[in-house]
């Protein structure tokens, strides 16, 4: 369940580098920490896939839709190869996102991302947040009519 503190620290640093790059909106730098065959699960978006391209699209969509995106990391928890990051994502919508049209609403969503780091790269990501909160912030009224304001 645990590995050496040196290894755990390194794994946490790799995840921190991913999050720091995301906070700078530098998608390519973030993806430099990711294995090309990464397994990606984004529960609120119903995304389950393999390959860096899947994660690249997830973070690119986020940065594009919220150009003033701010990532505030509250905790990074290292448990062996698994690193869990808790953070808040904030921003003002400037483009469609997850089916919701742009109404220039402000978003603030608490999230938890669970990473697995193997061989110095992120090999698995599972992202958790509440899509009900996200749609509420973006003024979506119904799950079956997401694009209708």
């Amino acid at each position: 369940m645990t590995s050496s503190s040196v290894g755990t620290s390194t794994q946490a640093q790799i995840v921190q580098s991913f999050l720091d790059a995301l906070a700078r909106h530098d998608v390519e730098a973030a993806m430099a920490a990711v294995d090309p065959q990464v397994t990606v699960t984004v529960h609120p978006l119903g995304i389950r896939g393999t390959g860096a391209g899947v994660l690249h699209e997830v973070v690119t969509d986020l940065v594009r839709a919220f150009p003033d995106l701010m990532i505030s990391v509250s905790r990074v928890i290292a448990t062996g190869d698994v690193v869990t990051a808790l953070f808040k994502a904030e921003g003002t919508q400037a483009g469609s996102y997850a089916g919701a049209i742009n109404q220039e609403k402000h978003l603030d969503i608490d999230q938890a991302w669970r990473f697995t780091v193997t061989g110095g790269l992120i090999t698995e990501v599972s992202a958790y947040w509440c899509q009900a909160q996200l749609y509420r912030r973006l003024a979506v009224k119904r799950y079956d009519e997401i694009a209708i304001a």
Partner: protein
Amino acid sequence: MTQVSTPPRTAESAAGVVTEFFDRYRAHDVEGMTDLCAMNAAFSYPPVELWGKQRVLRGDGKVRTIGKPLWTGLIASFPNLSNTVHTLVSNDEGDVVAEVDVEGTQQLAWGLVAPAGQHYREPHLFIFHVGPDLLIDSITAYWNDAGISQQLGHTEVD
């Protein structure tokens, strides 16, 4: 004089406490779940957010004042509530992270969702901290409440 000794906190013993927590949750033993927590244990369920006209009720506070009523209410609304622990990782500092599916069939209203006999199963990520006394002193959980609402047939974003 008799002394009761607590085994040292390790990654394994912290994981054992959380495994027992989910066993008791599966058995609907809310008192037992609470007994595994420190008296002033912190509780945070960020997805719990009920918007009223003048205030927002959030799932933040203490296990005994917010967590316990939430668990009790959830079990009342979903009498067959269950959980499946998929992964559970921990460290010697007492951090425990668990990927858990929670599921149940609705029999009573839950929040603004009217009962329609529908079943839900939703992935959750639980983050615990277990203190040196092997009592849980913090519980945080994330999940997608929209997924639950839609599975229960509730299509409004409340």
